[in-house]
Symmetry: D2
Subunit: 335 residues, 4 copies
């Protein structure tokens, strides 16, 4: 039985606690939050769980083997580092830390102490994303041509990070998982509409070495919620709509066929193919449930998780480059 | 009765001919196209209309007062210039020409000869766009914050212009009409997936002097057709979906309210407003029908059209800057 | 070259004329309509076609081999009978006639004179309906369990027939084509909201000898347009949405599995299967174009059409029974 | 503080328990269920709540003031009667009982003992249904013309009641609440596809004295989930789609205008009006939360609930008549 301590009981923390509670092989020993009224809620729902406003109580607790961190980004590094130093395995919210330097130091600390460091890139554990990955890796998909995601809604404005670190981080972690190549540069633009606050909408283009391009549109100020990703392959195309209840992933047998005319390269004949649509059943198990079980299994077997600190670091590097590009109004920055 | 000659009977030409035919005050005198089989089709449908493969036949024809040009972009300038020189009023497909220099020369020629030069920015004549313009100009909308459009589908690949000159031109002309400010710089990225051909997908960000940002996503290689624009105001927000049959324009009484804390600017309190949705009935008259009538009225009354050469020039300048930015992988280029 | 005369140039007539015109092997000789302004429109579009307000001019015309009838239902019988007696093949709008007796007499007349009598059950010629038929006939579909269609919109109110004869006739003709069994009784309910006018909304249930049931919901007074049919099979299920542009037919690998417990029939265990969704590409050729070509081929080869008078009669018998049932507030009437 | 006992912890019971727990003025004293593993789940989540397999333990418990019953329909009567006899207030799942006679006896028993008897017609407590009721009662709606609801999905098959008692009961209770008139007769048809089991799909038509008609389509064997109701008024129309997340209720300014021609009643001119669409914000508070608070308030103040036994009885009478009609294949049965 793995003893777990959870730091942060705001938006995401309750989901962590609920999933650790329902996993038969883990138990939540204690929950820490700065706000006493949130701890009171823990007490009402889970009378057996200890509550505290001091994270040190968790780090010192011998019954706790692992710490899950769901606090504001700016606090990730300190909390994760202390947890690791106290010999605890760590599951940390995305993004892993505020800077790539911090992310590297956490990776080193975990490696030195042979502790599991898992970044909560939740979408990597969804049935939909794994189905997309399978489809993209199948020969029938052809070569990847583009990845284009829109993730917009009204709220929740963050005060310590811009919308890229809050929303685009999801798309970057999905891309990092499904695309067999890493972006080499990024162009980002965006704007803040609240004086003194971080950008609340942003548009990113990621460049690859191959003929691949990726684009991400994130916005905290949209009247409608959109979670739609188009993935273009030379033979098939995917539409992933995370708001659909039953048909999240649709695969289109569509594309173009280019016929070259030997003597005149400008006279390429482009014809359009339109075939069947196929929407495969995807595993609907809650992603966090699978992630929690995976975290536990990694600890038990001493294995590297699917989303280790290294993947968190890769994403943070993209975000840092995007921040720099946004300052320079879209100038491409090498990652 | 206004005599009209139409040059180009490919994709758009038939719509021009049909609308000039159905306008009681205009008549189509002759149609010119390079392809004899297309002219044969004209003959079957409209036996009274002359057909020719030589545009000079139209320019020389005394019964023709105005020329409508629906040919590939590269030919717009020469055809429009000759038509103007022959003393004909001109309606020319978007974009007005291949370069801003060409556009300027057409404007000058038309001005010197006191001829009407109308660029076919069709969306400006739709009920939906005019409704959006009204909503945006009403005080209840608040300040404009962003304009974000997605215009993607499978095909039709153009050989002489990239996807921005084919699809984004629509969004730029709508923006130019509904926004009371002009963009000052543009950052564009994109890619071609067919060797030697122009970019088939592109992402543009347009910067303004005020706290406004615009974004356009265009793609010839999308499995699904999307025509959706989000317009954010500080008090209201608009979703314009041109594929909806009955509710193209939706107005959301949504937004954020920012409460400042005097001593700590970082402690802004952001709350979210969600009210009713309203979808006004919009005029469903075919845009081209209104445009044709407007073109005729301008000729009759010697008035400047709603979409004169000057607006065509403004759009071409944005597209030229976008082309330059795309070459530099997103570096912002002043318009 | 088949010479065709078209009687009726209101809502559907123009479609018939256009399709007969575009078929290379037929030509429209003359069009008849009571309204001179409609005939003027024919003249503008098709100067070579004769126009008349007297159908006798068509029946007497030696250049005319076949007559297409697109007039109000009440006139179908007289016009079709006269056309047949004049030795013309007949394509008649749905429903074939106002009564089953009339329908029988037309069938007899056509048979005696060896003339083709085709009822315009247009949907039978669509790619979507034929795909559905194929799916239903495949073993993988299992046994048919139900057919449930909703066909509602605002307008167009008819004055001489109720909404069943206008809208449900489509569903009945589709069912007649795709289901390998005939309904034996019908229960219908409905109401008129305009005094003295026929029912403008109606609900039909059709009973079969087997464990099949069909249901049709038709309404001229709906705020939204719906064209959706659910077809349940014991192994697969179909959703047919005729308003979808690209995915009209969706096939669900869904259903229930019933496990019997030998000693207690009440203790049946019902489990639910949910598999992939598949939307096959369907032939998008305009149905009327195929129907016109089929009509011509039947005339040339002396073959029975896919929708002969007998199918029209079968549908009229269902509608007559439904009318009787509606009068008796839903009492089942044997067909 | 109101002490509550909950009988039945299957599909709906957990929702009752959760809402009684979160209401600050009630507390769940004990939960009863036949299945020990379900009681174990109660124990894990709510360690302070007593569990038992014997409902008598709840009826005898002095700390319990009210009993909530969420068991199969066949057991409602006995459990509710015993609870009332033990002096407990009762909240019972829909439908209130298996027969109208049983329902009447429960109403009498509650009245004699001055106890609150509330039937869980949940939809009556939703923001959407209350908004619809407001719109329908406003003069701008005109006269009600029809109510047409579709409520279909795959599962959950019930063994003791047919699909009307499981799904149509929702529509009947909504109609009962929003329509200012009672149906006088019902025609119902349906079928069972599992031998020996109750009907799994059914179609009901309800007749009123006025020019109003209602129709309900329910099905446990549909590949897609639909929850859509059309409500037609002479001036406005409503579409209520309970599956929409943000725009459940849409109000259309649509309809027909009938112009009478004095001398010829058949020459009515019907014209169509199409105006704006409006989707009002609706209260999104969970219905059961409001219902639980309402139940408590009725007990405290000795008031009649919004959904008393009498409304439950009215619905059961409709269902009984529908059952009878279904046996007679749609023959209208007086309610």
């Amino acid at each position: 039985m793995l003893g777990v301590g959870v730091v942060g009981y705001g938006y995401w923390g309750p989901n962590l606690v609920r999933n650790f509670m329902s996993d038969a092989e883990t138990r939540v020993v204690a929950v820490c939050d700065r706000a006493p009224q949130r701890l009171a809620e823990v007490g009402r729902l889970y009378p057996a769980v200890k509550t505290t406003t001091d994270p040190q109580d968790l780090f010192r607790n011998k019954d706790i083997d692992a710490i899950a961190i769901a606090t504001p980004v700016a606090t990730h590094f300190d909390l994760a580092l202390e947890a690791l130093r106290a010999g605890k395995h760590v599951l940390v919210e995305k993004p892993i830390a505020s800077t790539s330097d911090q992310a590297s130091r956490l990776i080193d600390e975990a490696a030195r102490r042979k502790l599991v460091l898992l970044v909560d890139h939740t979408f990597v554990f969804t049935g939909a994303v794994n189905k997309i990955r399978d489809v993209m890796r199948d020969e029938s998909f052809g070569r990847l041509q583009y990845y284009d995601s829109t993730r917009v809604n009204l709220g929740l404005f963050q005060h310590d990070v811009n919308v890229m670190w809050d929303l685009a981080v999801h798309d970057l972690s999905i891309m990092d998982y499904v695309i067999d190549a890493a972006p080499v540069a990024v162009s980002a633009t965006g704007l803040s509409h609240v004086p003194g606050q971080p950008a609340n909408l942003a548009f990113l283009t990621l460049f690859f070495d191959a003929d691949i391009i990726a684009h991400i549109n994130v916005n905290w100020l949209s009247p409608v919620k959109i979670r739609r990703t188009l993935v273009g392959g030379s033979k098939r195309m995917i539409v992933y709509d995370d708001l659909e209840t039953s048909e999240k992933v649709k695969i289109y047998d569509k594309g173009i066929t280019v016929t070259e005319t030997p003597d005149d390269v400008r006279k390429l004949l482009i014809s359009y193919r339109t075939g069947d649509l196929w929407s495969p059943k995807v595993n609907e198990t809650e992603a966090l449930r699978l992630e929690v079980a995976h975290f536990r299994a990694c600890i038990e077997n001493g294995e590297k998780p699917l989303t280790p600190g290294e993947r968190g670091l890769a994403i943070v590097r993209m975000l840092e480059a995007a921040d720099e590009s946004m300052k320079r109004r879209g100038e491409a920055i090498t990652i």
